[in-house]
Symmetry: C2
Subunit: 251 residues, 2 copies
DNA sequence: CCGGACGCTCTGGTATACCATATACCTAGG
DNA sequence: CCTAGGTATATGGTATACCAGAGCGTCCGG
C-alpha cells in the first residue's frame, strides 16, 4: 500500500490548541511569577494575599485561585492560616541553610552525572557561558551575575540528563536567587564563585566524576556556611510578621 | 452563655488538632494512604479515581477532594485528564531510576551530615535496629525486610538533622517501597543491602563523613543500576495504558 | 476615664449548581 | 452488515452561596 492516505495533516497544519491551559494553571503561573518578581526578603512586612481580591483582579472565580494557592502552599511559597489570611512565606535562616544543603546534595550528584554523560558541546557551552561573563566582569554587571550564576547551576543540572533533578531543584533556585542577590555583595563571593565554577568546568572536561561531585558539593556547602555566618538578617526580618499585613485594609 | 473559659489551653497542650481537621487534609491523607496501600506495580491496568464517588464515600463534597487531588497530582501520584478521569500514575523504569539517583544524592548528603552531627545514641540505635533484624533474618521475614530497609534509610535522613531532607525524600520513599518489594527478591539483594548498611553504620561510628557519604551514594547507585538492568517489567506494565491513549492520529 | 463583653465584618473552608466536552451507544443510510 | 453522525451520559472545570471563626471597633457599666 503506497500511501493511500498521504498525510492529510500536512494539508491543514492545525496547531495543537492548548486544552491544557486551565484557569487553575493560569492562576498558578501568574501568582508564582508575581511572588518571584517581588523580592521577598526586601519587603519589610509580611505580604498578605486575598482570595476574593485576586479572583476579581484575575477575572476568575475563587475556585481556581484556591487550587493554585493549594499548590503554592505545598511548594512552600505561601502559608494559609484559616480565617486569618494567606501570607507569602519568608524563609528563616535555618531553612535557607537547609535548602542550600539539599541543593549541595542534588547538585553534586548532577555534577557527577554530567561528568559521565554530558556531551562535549554541552561542556564547551558551559565554559563559554562563564567566559563571556568573565570578560564583562565590571562592578556594574555584578548585579546580573546573580542570574548568570543561576544559569550556570541550572546548566549543570540539565547536563546531568536527569529530569527529576531539574524538577526538584526548580523551586530551590527561586529562593536561592533571592538570597544570592544579597550574599553576592559580601566578602568577594562573586569572584570566589567564578573561580569555583571554572574548577567545576575543568573537572567536567577531564571527565572526573568524583572531582566534579566534590567541587560542586564544596561550592554549595561553602555558600551554606556563609549564610550560616552572615545570614542573620533573614531571621531579623522574619520577626516582623507579627504585624498585621496592610493594617489599613479595614474600610 | 458568658461562661468564662478557664483557659484549657494552658493545661492540656492540644495544639495539633486543627492540622488534620480540615477536610482537604483529611481527604489528602486518606487518598494518599489508599494509593500507597495498593501495590501500584502489581495492578495490571490503570486505576481510575472518581471525584464524585470518592466524595460520597468519604462523606464530604467534591471541593476538598479536588484540592487533595491537586496536591496528589503535583506530588506525582495521580494524573488528571480533563473530561476523562483521574488516574493513578505508574512510574516508568526511567523515572524510577531517576528517583533512586536523586535519592542517592540526598541520602549521601544526609549520611555526611549524620557522620558529623548525629548523637552517639542515635548511631547506636541505628546499629541496634539493623542487628535486631539480622538475628531474625529468616527467609520468612524477608518480606518485612522491605520495611526495615526503609526504616534504616529514613533513620539516616533523620539523623542528618535536616528537616528539608526528610521532607523531600518522603515521597521518594513511597515509590521506593513499592519497588523494593520486588527487587529485594532478586539477586541476593537483601543480604548485600544488609552488608552495605553495616558498613555505613561503621562509617558513622568512626565519624568519617567522606566515607559515609560515599558508601551511602554507592549503595543507592547500586540499586539504581540494578533497576536499570532488571526493571524492564516496569515499562512493560506501563505500556498498557498507552493503548487507550493512542495519540489520536485520526478519529 | 477605663475595661471587658458584644457584635460587625472579613476570611478561608465547604457544599452545590452549572458548564463544556470526551466517550459510548444508538440510529439511519449506504 | 457496516459505517457515519447524532445524542445521552459521565466527568472534570468553574462559579457561587453559605458557614464558622478570628479581629477589631464600639458601647455600656463601673
Amino acid at each position: 500500500m503506497p500511501e493511500p492516505i498521504p498525510r492529510p495533516r500536512s494539508i491543514i497544519d492545525i496547531s495543537r490548541l492548548d486544552t491544557g491551559s486551565t484557569f487553575r494553571g493560569l492562576a498558578y503561573a501568574a501568582l508564582k511569577r508575581a511572588i518571584c518578581a517581588m523580592d521577598i526578603y526586601d519587603q519589610p512586612q509580611e505580604i498578605r494575599l486575598d482570595e476574593r481580591r485576586l479572583s476579581q483582579r484575575l477575572g476568575v472565580s475563587r475556585t481556581p485561585i484556591r487550587e493554585a494557592m493549594t499548590l503554592l502552599e505545598q511548594e512552600g511559597f505561601v502559608r494559609t492560616r484559616p480565617r486569618r489570611g494567606i501570607f507569602v512565606v519568608r524563609k528563616s535562616k535555618r531553612e535557607i541553610v537547609e535548602m542550600i544543603t539539599v541543593m549541595a546534595g542534588l547538585e553534586s550528584m548532577a555534577a557527577r552525572l554530567a561528568a559521565e554523560r554530558a556531551g562535549k558541546s554541552e561542556i564547551a557551552g558551559l565554559r563559554r557561558l562563564m567566559t563571556e561573563f568573565r570578560t564583562g566582569n565590571d562592578a556594574d554587571r555584578l548585579a546580573e551575575y546573580s542570574d548568570a550564576n543561576i544559569a550556570f547551576h541550572q546548566a549543570i543540572i540539565r547536563m546531568s540528563g536527569c529530569a527529576l533533578l531539574a524538577e526538584m531543584t526548580e523551586n530551590l533556585f527561586i529562593h536561592m536567587r533571592a538570597i544570592r542577590k544579597i550574599t553576592i555583595h559580601q566578602d568577594n563571593r562573586a569572584e570566589r564563585s567564578v573561580l569555583d565554577h571554572f574548577r567545576i568546568i575543568e573537572a567536567l572536561e577531564v571527565r572526573d566524576p568524583e572531582l566534579a561531585e566534590r567541587l560542586a558539593r564544596d561550592h554549595a556547602l561553602g555558600l551554606a556556611a556563609h549564610v550560616e555566618q552572615h545570614g542573620d538578617f533573614l531571621d531579623a526580618a522574619a520577626s516582623i510578621d507579627v504585624v498585621p499585613a496592610e493594617a489599613g485594609t479595614h474600610r
